[in-house]
């Protein structure tokens, strides 16, 4: 099967660089799949979980923040503000982050602060979701 070049760049590091067979990304209006030789495109990415099939039948899941994916000449660049593997996620920290955000949402806030905590809550929930799927010992 064909492959395409994939580069995942997070704001603090280059997360992945290499070949990929299939890629599923969270777009603002649902998930989008990318196969080799895709049309040139730029797609906005929402907070969510991206999946990449690097070798046959083996899917890697990544919790991503907002950003975009760019597909040019069978090369995909995923530019996101955060990218984390399930095993990198600290459940306790994510849970604390969620609680903090929820607490702040309940208090009176300016619109700007509201969006801010909303985004932070979305990131926390996303981390927890990915971590929960992976760890059976999580209660």
């Amino acid at each position: 099967m064909d492959t395409f070049g994939l580069k995942v760049i997070a704001s603090d590091r280059v997360f992945y660089e290499g070949r990929c067979r299939k890629l599923i990304i969270p777009a603002p209006d649902g998930q989008k799949g990318i196969l080799p030789n895709h049309e040139n495109m730029v797609i906005a990415i929402a907070v969510g979980i991206a999946r990449m099939e690097l070798t046959e039948g083996e899917w890697t899941e990544v919790a991503v923040g907002t950003g975009f994916a760019e597909i040019v000449n069978n090369r995909v660049t995923l530019l996101v503000d955060t990218a984390e593997r399930p095993e990198e996620i600290d459940i306790r920290r994510a849970r604390e982050q969620r609680e903090r955000a929820e607490e702040q949402m309940r208090q009176k806030q300016s619109i700007q602060e509201y969006y801010h905590t909303q985004a932070s809550l979305a990131r926390a929930m996303n981390r927890l979701k990915l971590a929960r799927d992976k760890r059976w010992d999580f209660k």
Binding site: I9, D12, P28, N40, A44, T66, F68, D81
Partner: protein
Amino acid sequence: MANIREIQSRINSVKDTMKITNAMYMISSSKMTHARKKLADTEPYFYALQGEISRILRHMPELRHRYFSKRENVPADERKIGSIVITADKGLAGAYNHNIVKLEEEILAKPGIHKLFIVGELGRHYFAKHGVEIDMNFQYTVQKPTMHRARDISSVLIDQFLNRELDEVYVVYTRMENSVQAEAEVLKLLPLERASFNEMIMPLNMYREEIDLYPSAEIVMESIAPNYITGMIYGTLVEAYASEHNARMMAMKSATDSAESLIRELSIVYNRARQAAITQEITEVCSGARAQQNK
């Protein structure tokens, strides 16, 4: 000739100061290495963002977007100009803070309604004392810049920019040319300038790829531009942090050096004084003995 004990205590006090400057030198040098590594880690993301904006602009020259709006209808003396000023939390860094303050004062001299967002304790004190309008809710430290802090800062500024509370936003920071040279610099943050995404000049007969923007060019730009601004702020914070520690390192190095040369000079004076005292004592003893003999 100075008193021996005086010189001795002077040497000791210089030695104590030298211990402090030497420790600060080492702390700054380790902090600077950290900062440089951070900067190197974030560079690929930042350049890719910049490249992408320039690509979108190249494909959609007609794209009008709120981050690019120049607001030319606002006259020069009514423009609300915001500046993020990045200084250190303390002095002892040579001319580092002074250069930033001087540059900011040049901006303040220009027409317009100015508002300052200050990062760093020293700058906050300075401008508060000089009666310039400072956003007091804007309390961020320069120590250990993080992406999170950059996101906070950029959300404040983007919000004010979009609500027309600000028409232009600048960052005044220090950029590191190389490990010896650092220069205070003004960077225009908002509105984004088309010119700064230097468009590639391509030969006309070259095939240009067609790019589909999903869901639309506006939405893609909407998700890139704030990240780009955050990235710029993060970059300037890290750059300023690295330059601050570089400046402090150099200041402390020269302080340590001059302490060393001072100690060398003082110990020569001390030895001379000691010699003189010994010689004097010998002379006294000898002349006393001779006086006894002559009796």
